[in-house]
Symmetry: C2
Subunit: 506 residues, 2 copies
Amino acid sequence: MATEAAGLAEALRLQADMVRRLKQEQAGTEEVAEQVAKLLELKGRLGVDDGRPRFLLKTPKGTRDYGPKQMAIRERVFSTIISCFKRHGAEVIDTPVFELKETLTGKYGEDSKLIYDLKDQGGELLSLRYDLTVPFARYLAMNKITNIKRYHIAKVYRRDNPAMTRGRYREFYQCDFDIAGQFDPMIPDAECLKIVYEILSALQLGDFLIKVNDRRILDGMFAVCGVPDSKFRTICSSVDKLDKVMWEDVRSEIVGEKELSTEAADCIGEYVRLHGGLDLVEQLLQDPELSQNKLAREGLGDMKLLFEYLMLFGIADKISFDLSLARGLDYYTGVIYEAVLLQQQNDREEEPATVGSVAGGGRYDGLVGMFDPKGKKVPCVGVSIGIERIFSILEQKMEASKEKIRTTDTQVLVASAQKKLLEERLKLISELWDSGIKAEVLYKKNPKLLNQLQYCEDTGIPLVAIIGEQELKDGVVKLRDVATREEVDIRRENLVEEIKKRTCQP
Amino acid sequence: MATEAAGLAEALRLQADMVRRLKQEQAGTEEVAEQVAKLLELKGRLGVDDGRPRFLLKTPKGTRDYGPKQMAIRERVFSTIISCFKRHGAEVIDTPVFELKETLTGKYGEDSKLIYDLKDQGGELLSLRYDLTVPFARYLAMNKITNIKRYHIAKVYRRDNPAMTRGRYREFYQCDFDIAGQFDPMIPDAECLKIVYEILSALQLGDFLIKVNDRRILDGMFAVCGVPDSKFRTICSSVDKLDKVMWEDVRSEIVGEKELSTEAADCIGEYVRLHGGLDLVEQLLQDPELSQNKLAREGLGDMKLLFEYLMLFGIADKISFDLSLARGLDYYTGVIYEAVLLQQQNDREEEPATVGSVAGGGRYDGLVGMFDPKGKKVPCVGVSIGIERIFSILEQKMEASKEKIRTTDTQVLVASAQKKLLEERLKLISELWDSGIKAEVLYKKNPKLLNQLQYCEDTGIPLVAIIGEQELKDGVVKLRDVATREEVDIRRENLVEEIKKRTCQP
């Protein structure tokens, strides 16, 4: 019996181990189970209505649909941005919406937790792209491209807390322009700033300011303030919050959470108050501590060069060298910048308040090397236009102005005044389509003329081509101007020409 | 001791139960574990090279990057398609790339297994869109839109077995045009076919054929062949394979796997051989069995009407009423169609072989109602252009023809013949950009003139604006035509005008 008991005890111990192991392995799936439970509960709550299951009629959190009106605005903005990119000689590329998970791993620092992963359904582990920069670097390394100037306009995904009224979404467009290649210092960097300037001016969003800084100046500043090297990136992330919170909050984060000395924090505090132009660059080049730091000196030297080029481009007055600008992402190595819209200046306030960032970017000379098997570097600098915020401003403007936006390009509606002319309408519209005229017809056998005219009023169609028994007999079409209500008979063979002439579309 | 042993035995039994339960619960996660193991193994195999972890430098399975050359082709195709959609008066919308998982559930029949799910990271359960049709229906129901003609061009996702050389991907573009609303029969349906015809003609892909059928005719056919109602959809899925496999294979699937009687299968076999035009419609309207079936009669009546409209549109000769056309998706309710490219006809073969489907669509009158809380229906008909296959054909054509495709629009390169003129080049290019000229400059302090000219040759830039000490003194710019090598001095204030004139861009 003793042997039996010992055997059982041993078996029990082995099983206990197995239970422990299984429970451990299962811990990760408990969260899933919790979510499933939540969903089931939700489904139960929604219930079933007369046999038809109810759907949650919504788009996922942080996303939105774009209806025809929004698309009309969006396409105008895109067209402005694309023509600027093309004016600067950019090519265009596209990459998949998801990447191998490991392609994105280790590129975004503290923001990595916001990456959307796909479910493992067998095969590769995938994640939705978080920006267009890392996929671009992967593309360059994979295709061994060392020299390209390209733009890429596409959606990116961040599991952030959306603030949709201010244009912050979980799915949003980025419009990126980047210059990759080994070039003389600051020439491509200056062009990126010129592009931001051109786009923000063309979009007529009101006054703006482009803040610039350099990661090397930041790192030099951290060094002279006594921040240990290992804390550079995390302190940088804290400083990055200065556009949203006060210095006092950032200070308590870096002293408390990040355990920096109060002296180091106050030293940083002195620097990040500074902003100006070329004069500030010169001043810091004379700064007894900063000028002794190699990184800072390099950064300041390039900053000086940058301002020279910006003056040649005639845009230096919109640029502010700002030591509080840090940018959150890990991969920047040199100049960084961010454009902010300025609110209408209030007489009482001394400085204009900022509405928020609408463009940003910088130099990332190490990112491509992270993908290259031999670590071969391709220096890159780029800019990303924050289209959603711009779009939400323009959308509000449009709504306020009550400007009527056409959502189609239709030049003419093919109509009839009498019944039983559907076949004739279809024959005519087919002729027009075949001649490149943008034309519509109501999908009714016998529509009333009034309804057809109303449709033109509603949708902004400028012309109506009306046929009736008499017109068919005479070989003419009655062409009506919707705005003036004037009607003239046009010979059928001249109709296309006349419509083109009247709608000014060749 | 006996008690002890009994106690241990009881404990052992309880634990064994727990192990069994945990193992059951874990069964679902074993697949995950397997994948993780595979990945770890793979990582191990890749190893670490001089301290730098190696990346798998690839895009996910079934996806691809589009480089500048591919994008140039793609944008041409898109522009052709969009101008056709606009010619027919379409508005444009956009929806998020993912939907709530339950939005997609139960819409795709047997294809549902191909849907990509996102990982549950807390919050809603999401899936990548499988097509643009279901999101469109969700959009209509959610916004209570009962009447719209819209297009939508966007990427969709299917965990299919990719055949990328033939243009079949896991991430691919769809170009959808749909007409929603209660209209008189077959007018919008005919316009969809007209659109397919116009697009395939404009893209010059060679000869094509548009097959049409009607779900009601299929269902009527199944009914008269003795297929039980409950098997209509699954038999339909089998018949859908007829474009890829022989009837014999389909027959053995529906008799074997799907347990249909051989009589029923052979009856279906007789019908699906049939294809023709209006004559076949008339013939089937006389068919003693089919004409007795209400659904089939309705479908055939509408098919007759459709052909009348197609004749008015002048495209009936490219349309084939084909009883073997089934279309895989569950949601179709009426007319369905699919366009195929025909291979160059071989003299020996009687019938031209098909290259595969490049467009497809149909009527889905029930889908919007599935989303509406009250089940309110919005009849819809639409077409989807299979851009990837078209694109891969054009890409091959381009490569074969060795036609040089420009990937930028740059009109002029700003160059200098001497050293130390970077500042002057930047000043001049800034003037040109500000006047809307598409211009580039080499990002070098002192580039050689030969290198600057070579850059123009390589990238197809037609003009070079050259400045040197003398030109600056004289207030002129030397404008060089890259092709002819002719150079003329242009007064600086006339340069913009001259470039515009020479490059024919207003």
